[in-house]
Symmetry: C2
Subunit: 340 residues, 2 copies
Amino acid sequence: MAFPQRVNMSDVARAAGVSVATVSKVVNGRYGVAQATVERVQQVIHQLGYEASLGAQSLRSHRTNVLGILVAEFEPFSTELLKGASAEVTGTGYQLLAYSSGDAAGTAVGWERRSLARLSGTLIDGAVIVTPTVVETKQGFHVVAVDPHTGPSGLPTVDSDNFAGAVLATNYLLSLGHRRIAHISGRADLESSRLREAGFRQAMADAGVAVDERLVRVGGFRIESAAGTAAEMLALPDRPTAVFAGNDLSAISTMDVARCMGLSVPDDLSVIGFDNVPESALVNPPLTTIMQPIQRMGAEALRLLVDLIAGVERDSHIRLPTELVVRASCRPYSPPSSPL
Amino acid sequence: MAFPQRVNMSDVARAAGVSVATVSKVVNGRYGVAQATVERVQQVIHQLGYEASLGAQSLRSHRTNVLGILVAEFEPFSTELLKGASAEVTGTGYQLLAYSSGDAAGTAVGWERRSLARLSGTLIDGAVIVTPTVVETKQGFHVVAVDPHTGPSGLPTVDSDNFAGAVLATNYLLSLGHRRIAHISGRADLESSRLREAGFRQAMADAGVAVDERLVRVGGFRIESAAGTAAEMLALPDRPTAVFAGNDLSAISTMDVARCMGLSVPDDLSVIGFDNVPESALVNPPLTTIMQPIQRMGAEALRLLVDLIAGVERDSHIRLPTELVVRASCRPYSPPSSPL
DNA sequence: GTGAAAGCGCTAACAC
DNA sequence: GTGTTAGCGCTTTCAC
């Protein structure tokens, strides 16, 4: 069954013996078309398999019933978000368009602005932007930011309680008896990273444990960048007995490095992550981590966007709770057994 | 930093004191523009933050450097694929646009045709369609199907070796001593489902074990639909000791049902799945399953699409191998201990 | 080297 | 009720 060619509105009009304007009215359910005509046109549309071109439609009408999700790349975090948004969108009448700028995260600053400029005003009626660095609001175009890199702006936002989560993680390590605890952070310009580090310091202070500043270092939130940081800290003469990694990828990277250095996780080193991306359960040992309800964040962001477009008055800052997920990468501290 | 309005090409033209035609030439790197003009225009573009509208651009030029990935919804399988495609796309110069029709899988037949009609000819230069039922080729538009529901057509295809994988799964259960093995299939119209059932039957036959037809039933590949099927089979007087579920979701569903019926997995019932979506490792007990290299399938599909567009001659049917992933949901068969 | 003008597929006024 | 027309933002001849 091969359609020879893309069929457009004039094809339909010709076949139905009406003008394109009439076809347009039928397609969009406008009033002022005879019942008989409506039926005839619909029949032809069905026969020819006509579907309005998103590009042309949006160019003209500025309303497409398509919502955009803009990401730098499709990695575990953004795809979890996508699942949540996808589940939430059913029944709203909107369709979802996820757009990846193709830049590896951090590679090109400003991807969010470029993607937004490319799609807004045409194509999509609103957008969810995932972990944007800069956000600028265009007039009459609705945007929701998920886990933005900078602190709260006027923009509608969905994030999780990074500070409380970090406290949770640190307290867990403390409760296992660890005192030499390292923290691998993301980057100073990332709001979530700053909050996690702050939570770490708060929990340490509350427990009366001094933070060794040599054990707090930037890891960049990515596998490769975190590896170097982990290696440095684990090579210290008085290396940490536990690591609170700023996100799961850093934690996984730390476990890799530890293994390469002949250290066993969790026997010689406890590691806890942050995010609970599916991948965290797949590593060996399965990673103990702080769960952000990522899918729910996606769902909430989508719902918020739909409400904003509909003009519903509501709180436009959503913060979801985090939770400790205990797996197998942490263990109570025991002093190193002295050689026999 | 709030941009008041979307800036378009005439804004740039006006600010630079040239015509839109010239701006277009600069944007697209066409020859025949004075060096000085090029620089001036580029400066203005940068200042104003201009970015070409994808909608308008595609409408006119039929070339956008954007590749589409069309899915029914964003669920574990399609998002894994997305990760693979996303990794592969970097460096090709293309950007990725994932489009979800918003129909829950199986809800609306023909989503793939509608989505394709909406985006092709405008917006995207080619498409990867995920698990399409019907596929029709449009002239001059390149499409790659991943795991299509119907058997090999002329269309370029990427799938995994479903038959061999099913044999692997069944042999594993047989090697554990199981003989009453059930199979929950997808649907008869799904090629992957048919092949998995065929592999199951082949392995059973090769082992000289008769298939009890009451233990081979349709489950539909989704959590809800598989639950009923699982419940029926587990309620049989001589219930199976092991289940080979047609995909991970069916397997997870079966484990749920078993738990509800007071059966322990794997003590009372062994369960093996198919796909190895990340979620399969997250359930309790972690699911033993057959891995399809989903991310690699996404990467291969993308690469194939890029090559097709570039006119590269190559084999357009890619079949990737499957592999057994042993986790904790299966155990050697032991006769039920008789009550004391 | 540059700009005017046509037109991609569609929608929205406004005529008829 | 229906068709004519203009124009969304852009690219592309083709004059100048």
